[in-house]
């Protein structure tokens, strides 16, 4: 490491209100094509609910005391938090950074690189909020929500989105090229999509796999929280789930910003 970039990967970056200007740029781009952007989170959960929930659900015994369709519905909301924020801060951020050179243009202004990355993370969290709230709306229409606590899911979506955005940004900071995002997508996101108590109770899994998913898979915690709020089943273990996310999020946010600094400021 060179002397002038010897900042540790965990040193806390200075971020001002200017990060929101970067967020706003991304929001304005999103709003230009909002009809197209709102379409997938509106349509996709319908297929899952009808196909898996009602179709496959006919063969599946209740999971954790819930009808199969009601079991997967809150998980679909949590999955959309993960997908929307993770892909926003991998592929989309990489395109802005590398192909469009948008970051380079912005850091010639009083906005710093740290603020650019923070703005991107805030935008990823916002994408999670927007998309999962639409999925939540679909789930509500299907009558699969049974507690007013569901109102806490959107703020949860922002928090979970921030965590996945930060994790994604760490990969963006170290990826040699855009194709290499296949590695985190298939080795990290896909297993999580399957193994986080999403489509079957994680109690059905072998003990070690259960432990691994509880310790290492952020989606597991998001699904537990989303399900607990949607059906109003509050268990003390939810505090562990929330705590896990609250600890991991600032760590990955700080790490991702420092890794990006290392990549872009030589």
């Amino acid at each position: 490491m060179k002397a002038d970039v010897s900042t540790s990967l965990l040193s806390v970056p200075q971020i001002s209100y200017r990060a929101w200007k970067v967020w706003r740029r991304d929001l304005e781009v999103f709003m230009k094509t909002y009809k197209v952007n709102f379409f997938p989170p509106l349509v996709e959960p319908i297929f899952y609910l009808v196909g898996l929930g009602f179709g496959l659900g006919g063969f599946v015994q209740p999971q954790e005391g819930l009808r199969y369709v009601a079991f997967i519905a809150p998980a679909l909301v949590a999955i959309s938090m993960m997908f929307s924020s993770f892909f926003e801060c991998t592929y989309a951020s990489f395109v802005r950074m590398y192909y469009q050179k948008t970051f380079g243009a912005i850091i010639a202004t009083p906005v710093s690189l740290e603020e650019v990355i923070a703005g991107e993370l805030l935008w990823g969290a916002t994408k999670s909020l927007i998309n999962s709230t639409i999925v939540l709306g679909v789930v509500l229409v299907f009558g699969l929500v049974s507690s007013p606590l569901f109102l806490l899911i959107p703020p949860l979506a922002f928090l979970v989105g921030l965590l996945f955005s930060a994790m994604a940004m760490c990969f963006t900071a170290i990826t040699p090229n855009i194709d290499s995002f296949n590695y985190p997508s298939f080795l990290f996101i896909t297993p999580m999509f399957i193994l986080s108590g999403t489509f079957f109770s994680s109690h059905n899994l072998p003990g070690t796999v259960q432990t691994i998913s509880k310790i290492f898979l952020p989606l597991y915690h998001a699904v537990e929280l989303s399900r607990g709020l949607a059906i109003g089943r509050l268990h003390p273990s939810l505090l562990f789930n929330l705590g896990w996310i609250l600890v991991a999020t600032p760590v990955f946010v700080i790490l991702s910003i420092n890794l990006m600094k290392r990549r872009l400021i030589k």
Binding site: K2, K21, V29, G104
Partner: protein, 306 residues
């Protein structure tokens, strides 16, 4: 131009891993002048620019802009400079107008003021007809003009132009030059890099010539030409006999063979010219004005033969 120093570099150095991109350079830019960094690709011009615009940490030396050190006051310095980079980094998701308004926001310029400035700047760079057009639909000359307008949105005291006309056709280039001259009249301090000698000669009050990370010469373009090359250059069609004649009659002259032509750098151009015409009337010989390119070739020694 005043004697107030706006940018001052001392022992400025930038090292990337093992590659020394900028090697202990010193320079000063005065308020209101147009200062040019001239040199081939890879000379270290862009790296120097990026350090001035606080986008790249220094490896050694010091660099101050308007009395503030780039290592300490990046944000303040970035507020007062406008940057037109070499590459196209316009925002392809937005229209021409929206590009300027979004960029103004990064400088905390209120929306109303930003719109007003954007309108004026688009008129200035003759893009007011293209306001609502997306970036992809602009020609490369138009993109360069828009990048210039964007660099002016914060009404900068210092304008950094990194190869403002590279890759443009002559018409587009002259249009950019005209805009730059306009800005000079408004006493904006301009720092530009170029590898076109003509561009430096046309626009710059003073230039430095960079090669391999070092500044190898500094001065007014016309003075540099006079000092190193003289007023005129003699060119003759290549021929073994002529070459031998030249080597014999004027051993002090520098001869350069470029393709099928011999260039003769000497202070007695006209005498040799008439001798050649007398002896070898069939040879295409001509006298032309010396230019910065000649200086550059002479200083860097490229393709030059004694």
């Amino acid at each position: 131009m005043s004697s107030e120093i706006l940018i001052k570099a001392e022992g400025l150095t930038k090292k990337f891993d093992d590659f020394l991109a900028v090697d202990k350079i010193d320079f000063q830019v005065f308020k209101g002048e147009c200062f040019g960094f001239l040199g081939p690709n890879g000379a270290g011009k862009t790296t120097t620019m990026r350090m001035v615009q606080c986008g790249l940490p220094l490896s050694a030396g010091s660099l101050s802009v308007s009395g503030m050190y780039v290592t300490e006051s990046g944000r303040e310095i970035k507020t007062m400079i406008g940057v037109a980079p070499q590459e196209d980094n316009l925002d392809p998701d937005f229209t021409v107008m929206h590009n300027l308004v979004v960029y103004a926001r990064y400088f905390d310029i209120p929306k109303k003021e930003a719109t007003k400035r954007a309108e004026e700047l688009l008129k200035f760079v003759q893009l007011d007809e293209k306001k609502e057009v997306l970036i992809d639909e602009l020609s490369s000359g138009m993109k360069r003009r828009l990048i210039l307008a964007r660099a002016l949105i914060n009404e900068p005291q210092i304008l950094i132009l990194d190869e403002p006309t590279t890759g443009l056709d002559p018409q587009a280039r002259h249009l950019i030059w005209e805009k730059i001259r306009n800005l000079q009249k408004q006493e904006v301090t301009i720092v530009l890099t170029t590898h076109y000698m003509e561009e430096a000669a046309q626009l710059c009050d003073r230039t430095v010539i960079m090669d391999l990370g070092k500044i190898i010469e500094e001065g007014k373009p016309a003075d540099l030409v006079k000092k190193h090359v003289g007023e005129e250059v003699l060119e003759v069609g290549y021929d073994e006999e002529v070459l031998k004649f030249l080597q014999d009659t004027c051993p002090d002259a520098k001869l350069e063979i470029m393709g099928d032509r011999i260039q003769v750098f000497t202070n007695q151009t006209r005498g040799i010219f008439s001798q050649i015409l007398n002896k070898y009337s069939f040879k295409a010989a001509m006298i032309r004005d010396a230019n910065l390119e000649d200086v550059f070739l002479k200083l860097t020694g490229r393709r030059l033969k004694e």
